[in-house]
Amino acid sequence: MKKSITAILMLIVILVMPVTFAATYPNHTRDFYVNDFADVLSSDTEQMIMETSVALSEATGAQIVVVTIDSLDGQDIESYSTGLFREWGIGEEKKNNGLLLLVAIEDRRSRIEVGYGLEGALNDAKTGRIQDEYLIANFQAGDYDAGITGTYLRLAEEVYAEYDLSVEDLQSSKAYYNPVETKSDSEFTIFHLLIGIVVFILMILDLIFNRGRLTRLALYALARGSKGSSRGGGFGGGGGSSGGGGSSRSW
């Protein structure tokens, strides 16, 4: 009897288990709009991209994301970029107004992937031409920073135009972007000191009378808690998707 119940339970688990097709993509950084995994961008460029993309997203919902990676690990850049685009949900869910500039340094491949909602503003030919004009020559000269900056700004310009915005409109809304690290730590007061002392005394008591069980438990809970919430804060995707529009280049 017990065996058959176990068998039924296992069957249910197997039937319910979702079938997943593993293609792994990196998690995005807290900044979301800049993910310089290959480490080719200067901090000035990263800041410029953050300021522009955050302001643009606040104003229109459109998201422009830059990703640099070392290698595609044998995958073709088209399916990698569509997969990443969908996994991160670039752009708004309803409007699909996301844009991804993906660069794979070792493979010498670049791609601009356009969400459905921006295909009108940026057709495939246009994204190809932008890479021809701004990206390839710089990349061939080894200046990835300049190539990405130029391409990014050109793309941003197209998105501004699509939403009838001028560059000035967005510069004035730069205030939206607050770098994560400027969140001031709350001030240290007598109250905190008192709590600290009480906790310390309790810990000592715990160590003496209880072999530190509670302390270990508390530390464990703390470690788990911080692991779970480490992705909180920062920016994220809006649930947008792409149908595979855009163009690729190699250099």
Binding site: E78, R129, I136, G243, G244, G245, S247
Partner: protein, 189 residues
């Protein structure tokens, strides 16, 4: 008397739960059937878009490479086959054929530097590559919903009832995997 009643109740419960299962699976199938047709029409849109691109592309290439008659002929035959394809299987085969002949058409630009640097050709081949990639993406999306649909339709209890309700199995797009290789021109060099 008492025993008979219990048996009756047990049978009733079994029938009721089975009926509930069939109804909920039926509703799932209706929704998925709709999604299957939607994804199929998404593929059709992109196939149509490519068919519209081809004449322009062929004309542009012809202007630079008149003697490549065989390639032009292949493209035009494959395009005609694509346009007359009806079922998913026919479309799948015609699509593979057309993708192959188009990538040969794009590839000859390597032998004609003037063609390769022609602005119009670059634009058209970007549009073509983008459309090929959209077709590949749409095929993948279609296959995913088709798989969801089939996994319900072919499993108990719907394997008994699906035919009765008029649900046919969704057919997969599965022409050779190499066929969705997007034709690329290396404009970098």
């Amino acid at each position: 008397m008492k025993k008979g009643l219990i048996v009756l109740i047990v049978i009733g419960v079994i029938i009721a739960s089975l009926a509930g299962m069939v109804i909920s699976r039926y509703n799932q199938l209706v929704v998925l059937d709709e999604e299957v047709s939607m994804s199929l029409s998404q593929i059709d849109n992109q196939l149509q878009r490519r068919n519209d691109l081809i004449p322009n592309l062929v004309e542009t290439v012809k202007a630079f490479a008149t003697q490549e008659r065989e390639i032009f002929e292949n493209v035009s035959n494959a395009r005609a086959a694509m346009m007359s394809a009806g079922t998913v299987e026919e479309k799948d085969a015609a699509n593979a054929e057309l993708t192959g002949s188009l990538s040969r058409l794009i590839a000859i630009s390597e032998n004609y530097p003037d063609l390769k640097s022609d602005e119009n050709f670059r634009q058209l081949s970007d549009e073509l590559a983008g459309t090929e990639n959209r077709i590949a993406t749409a095929r993948m999306d279609y296959n995913n919903v088709a798989r969801d649909f089939n996994s319900i339709a072919k499993r108990f209890p719907m394997n008994i009832f699906a035919g009765m309700f008029g649900f046919d199995d969704a057919v997969y797009f599965e022409a050779s995997e190499g066929a969705d290789q997007v034709p690329t021109v290396d404009f970098g060099n």
